[in-house]
Structures are given as structure tokens and as C-alpha cells.
Symmetry: C2
Subunit: 331 residues, 2 copies
């Protein structure tokens, strides 16, 4: 298993990415193909005592930044670490590609360099997120601002296959994010998507789900358009972040609360980890012919290592073959 | 100040509504015009020792339930406690109307019975919600699934006036909820709304805001369409609810954590109150010619009393006159 890694994506690149790669090599035995400035990579590894065993380097000088417009990956930044990484993936030089960089550029590059699965209308940015117990997939979370009903229906299929084969959920429950649970709720487009998903025999569609129930356990796959999904993804992070900050302040109130903090420290740390969706390694870009995986922009080494492992699982899982089979069967 | 109250709206009606009314009469000296089944109201008050001083009753037998389609308020349920309450409001029999019942029916009834302010294109369901410090308004949160740019721009005006005059925020910051902060982000419609809001000289438009920043303090008024707003509103509640449940479980883990719970009990209770958006009394339906106010469906007596007080403040505030003035000035 060889994973192609964008060593220059994310807030903590290249250091945390390189540390994560080293861990992935030693823990899982994966091979790594690093994309990025060879001199810089070697210097950072030397300074931080990171082994480059089982890693190759594809020397690329350009970097896609968070400020770059996504389209630049096909133009001025096509030779960036992300652009070259995707090209190597398309040329079968590795089994999966991972980056913690600009999500928009990654989706754009995945679509036009690694290319879509035959029959897939739109790719979906598909983060795996924590719920009360376990995880769920929210797709699309930003690849397509507006989505026609047939596109939403395909998202249900793709998400269901991923959750089954990579995360190991038996018969994943697929829900359509809507303003109410009744069939007649939402726009005409959503009502049409409800019908298409209901008629989709390969998935376990449970109907509309309300946002209030999603964090508890509304469904294993939550289908929505990329605009709504992106808002939901970020709000999820924002509400949890603000609330955890408030809890921290509670414990800092006075001597009594500081003593309390010592008594629950271990459990609170676990809770913070449980609700930190960066822990889950990131988001596959579903609908692409090769496994493309997004790690969180602020991922540290352990999170990046987890991302590499999920990218490898995705590559091993035959998700892409099954998506192609199911989708082609209907077209 | 006379507040018309739907005594039969919400999960805890009529008991909690009636208790809330009694509190509002004794604390603030408001007069109350109750709409609902007179016999039932009198029985519940007698059984629970609730005084009906300074309250009149408009006897109505029908009730709008959560399962009723919103349109029924204009048809089979026009003589319900909510329908009659809105009719009394339209006939100037009270200064404001409050209900904890079916939000969709309330918006529909407000629009067609109490009617829109001249020049207002669409009413907005406009909850006031907690942020890290203080509150913000999220509008629209469900009255209109899709909103044209000119409608979004009016929401910015209405929200700004309300936050200034009722909540007391100086120069409220108005933000447009979007998938990124840059001007070119989002759909064509949102880009157009960005331009209209920028050109709107009566408000302090700060540009696009991302959902991640909203719970901290992105803006005082967050403008969005009713679909996205409804998802955001409910997700806000869902994430906070799930997280608070997890924290409760942390404290129940073992003897040590139970001792910790005793030490921080007071602060945690305050925190729960701070993040419970039912505490803020509810949501005005902005854009209507008379003050229409929604209390949370699960409001208890104190929350309902707070709602009555906000409805009264809204009535006193001259918000409606100012919305009419600003809106008419541009048409």
C-alpha cells in the first residue's frame, strides 16, 4: 500500500504531515510518496529527527495556499505539491492521495485530474463526523453549492457504500437533511430527492432527518447539498468549540472548581477527543476514480497519521468499484 | 400594555403558559388577553391556584396542533386559539401576540391575518440566540425556504432595527451567512445579496460570516434563507444538547467525578442556562404590521413569562414603525 502525501498542505505543514507519515510507516507499514520541496522536507526531517525510511520524495516547488482560488490547481498551481500528487494518483503511482490543504482546490483537482467515476454526476466532499456514539457522514459538505435531486440521490448511494465498507456500519441508515421529517417538507427539489432515495433499493433510506437529531443519532449518512452541508459542518465545529471553551472557564472560576477540574480531568480530555472531528481523520472526496482524502487543515501528526490510515482503508475497501457498479447499473 | 396570549400553544399548554401569564402580570403589570377554551383555562387555574387577575379570556375551542399543516390556520383552524389571537391583534385588541405553538402556522397566520408591513417583501422567523457573550439574531429561520437577494437584504435591515431597539445593541453588526468570507463566495444570489447589503447605508454590514464563527461572535444579526437558518437553528440546539448530555455523563462516571460535580454544580447550571436559547424568550416574526412573538415549544412558565416581556418590549420599541419607514424609503 503506497499513499501519496501532499507534504505542504495544512496549517502545520510540512512538520506535522511528515511526523504523521513517519508514524504511519512504522505503525502500519505503509509506503509513502511525499510531494513537496525536497530540500525543505529533508531539512525539516533532519532538524526534527524524522526518519524518511520507506518514503520517496517527488520534488515540487509550488504550494497551493488557503487563499488560492480552487481553479488555480488546474492553471498556475498545476505543479504544486497537491497538483502533482493528484497527477501521480491518476497515473497509478500510488493507491491513495491525502492532503490537509485547500479543500476547494482538492475537490477541483480531484475532479479534473484524478477524474470522476463513470456515471457519477458530482463528487462530494464527505467528512466523517462524531455523533453521540460513533460517527456519521455528512455529504456533500462543500463540493457543490447547489445539488439537483438526482445528485443528492447518488450521494446517498456513495455515502452508504463508504460507511459500510470503510467504517464498518451494518446497513447504514441514510437520511435526507430537511426542515421537518414529513415527506412534503422542503423545496420541490428535496421532495423529488426524497422520492428518488425512497426508490433506491440498494440503500436503507430512513426519510428526512432534522438537524436537531443529527448530533444524537439521526442517521449514519446525512445527505444534503454542499452549501447546507458546509454551513452544518462549520456550525458543528463552532458550537462545540464555544461550549468547550465555556466549560474550561467554568473550571477556572475559583479554587473549588479548580479542584473539581483535577477530579474530572481524564474524563473531560476523553470527551474533548470524542467530539473533535479532526480525530476521525478527515473526509474522502467521494465519486472520484481514485481514493482522494482530506485531512483537517489544523491536523497534528496523530490526526494526519489517522488520515493516512483511513485513506489506506478507503483504497483497500473496493468502495470505488462498488460505487461504479451500482451507479452504472442505473444509467 | 395588553398582550394577547395563545394559551393552547406548545408542549406544556395550557399550564405553563398560564403560570407564565400570572408571573408577567404580577412582575410587569401587563394585562393579558387569553385565547383558549374558557372552561379548561378556569379549571387549570383553579387546580393550580393560578390567579386570573388582570386577564380576560376569549373563548375558543379549536387548537392548532404541531401536526397541522400551516395553511389550516386560514381554513379549518381559523377559529383556533392561535387564529383568533392573531385576528384580535389585527383588530388592535392588544399590543402584541405570543404563542408557543406551531411555528409554520404562526408565520402563515401572521402574514395573512395580521399582515405584512407595507413594502416588506417577506416576513422572517427571527430567533434571538445565545453566543459566547450576549445574543444574536438568526433570520430567516424558517418562514421562507428560498429567499431572493432583495429579500435577504431586507432581513438585514429588519434584524438590525430589532437588535438595536429591543435588545439594545449599539450599531449591530450584520453578517451574511456564507461558505467563506470573501465577496465572491456562495451562489449568484448570495453574491447579489452581498452587494445589496453593502449598499444599504442604514445598517452596519460586515460582510460574509462563516458558520464556525457564529457561536463565538461573528455578528449581531446573521442573515440567511429560511432553509439554511432552520437547519442552523436546530443544529445549534442539537450539538449543544448532545454535548451537555455528554458532560453530565462525565460527572456521573465515578465517585471522584461525582464529588467534582458538587464543586462545579452552580457554575454548570449557569452555563446550561447561558446556552439554552429557550431562555431568551423566543423569536419575533419580523415584517408583520403588529408584534407577533414565538415562544419555544417546550417553554416552561419562566421562559413563557420572558417571552411575554420580550413581546411587550417589541410592542413598545417602535421597531415596526422604523422598519416601515426605512423600507418605504427605498421603494
Amino acid at each position: 500500500m503506497k499513499i501519496i502525501v501532499d507534504a505542504f498542505g495544512g496549517d502545520n505543514a510540512p512538520l506535522e504531515a511528515l511526523k504523521g507519515c513517519e508514524m504511519a510507516v512504522s505503525e502500519y507499514g505503509y509506503k509513502i510518496l511525499l510531494c513537496g520541496d525536497e530540500n525543505k522536507i529533508k531539512n525539516v526531517c533532519k532538524e526534527n529527527n524524522i526518519s524518511l525510511d520507506n518514503m520517496e520524495i517527488e520534488d515540487t516547488k509550488e504550494v497551493i495556499t488557503m487563499d488560492d482560488s480552487p481553479g488555480e490547481i488546474l492553471k498556475s498551481k498545476k505543479n504544486s505539491s497537491m497538483g502533482i500528487g493528484l497527477k501521480l494518483l491518476a497515473d497509478n503511482k500510488g493507491d491513495a492521495f491525502i492532503s490537509a490543504g485547500n479543500s476547494g482546490a482538492l475537490v477541483m483537482g480531484a475532479t479534473f485530474i484524478a477524474k470522476r467515476i463513470k456515471g457519477v454526476k458530482r463528487p462530494a466532499f464527505s467528512p466523517v463526523m462524531p455523533k453521540d456514539k460513533g460517527v456519521f457522514m455528512l455529504l456533500d459538505s462543500g463540493a457543490n453549492l447547489e445539488c439537483r435531486s438526482d445528485v443528492l440521490s447518488q450521494f446517498g448511494i456513495m455515502g452508504s457504500i463508504y460507511m459500510k465498507k470503510v467504517i464498518g456500519v451494518t446497513n447504514p441508515r441514510v437520511g435526507l437533511l430537511n426542515v421537518g421529517t414529513e415527506e412534503h417538507k422542503g423545496t420541490d427539489n428535496l421532495q423529488e430527492a426524497f422520492k428518488l432515495l425512497t426508490n433506491e433499493k440498494t440503500i436503507n433510506f430512513i426519510g428526512n432527518v432534522e438537524a436537531r437529531e443529527v448530533p444524537a443519532d439521526a442517521a449514519d449518512v446525512v445527505v444534503t447539498d454542499g452549501f447546507t452541508g458546509n454551513i452544518a459542518l462549520k456550525l458543528y465545529e463552532g458550537v462545540a468549540g464555544t461550549l468547550l471553551k465555556k466549560i474550561k472557564n467554568v473550571f477556572l472560576s475559583n479554587l473549588k472548581t479548580k479542584i473539581a477540574a483535577l477530579l474530572v480531568m481524564k474524563q473531560i480530555k476523553k470527551l474533548k477527543k470524542d467530539v473533535d472531528y479532526r480525530e476521525y481523520g478527515g473526509a474522502p472526496v467521494l465519486g472520484i476514480k481514485h481514493p482522494v482524502y482530506k485531512s483537517h487543515g489544523s491536523a497534528d501528526a496523530v490526526m494526519f497519521k489517522n488520515g493516512i490510515n483511513f485513506a489506506a482503508k478507503y483504497a483497500k475497501s473496493k468502495v470505488i468499484d462498488e460505487i461504479e457498479k451500482v451507479v452504472l447499473n442505473k444509467t
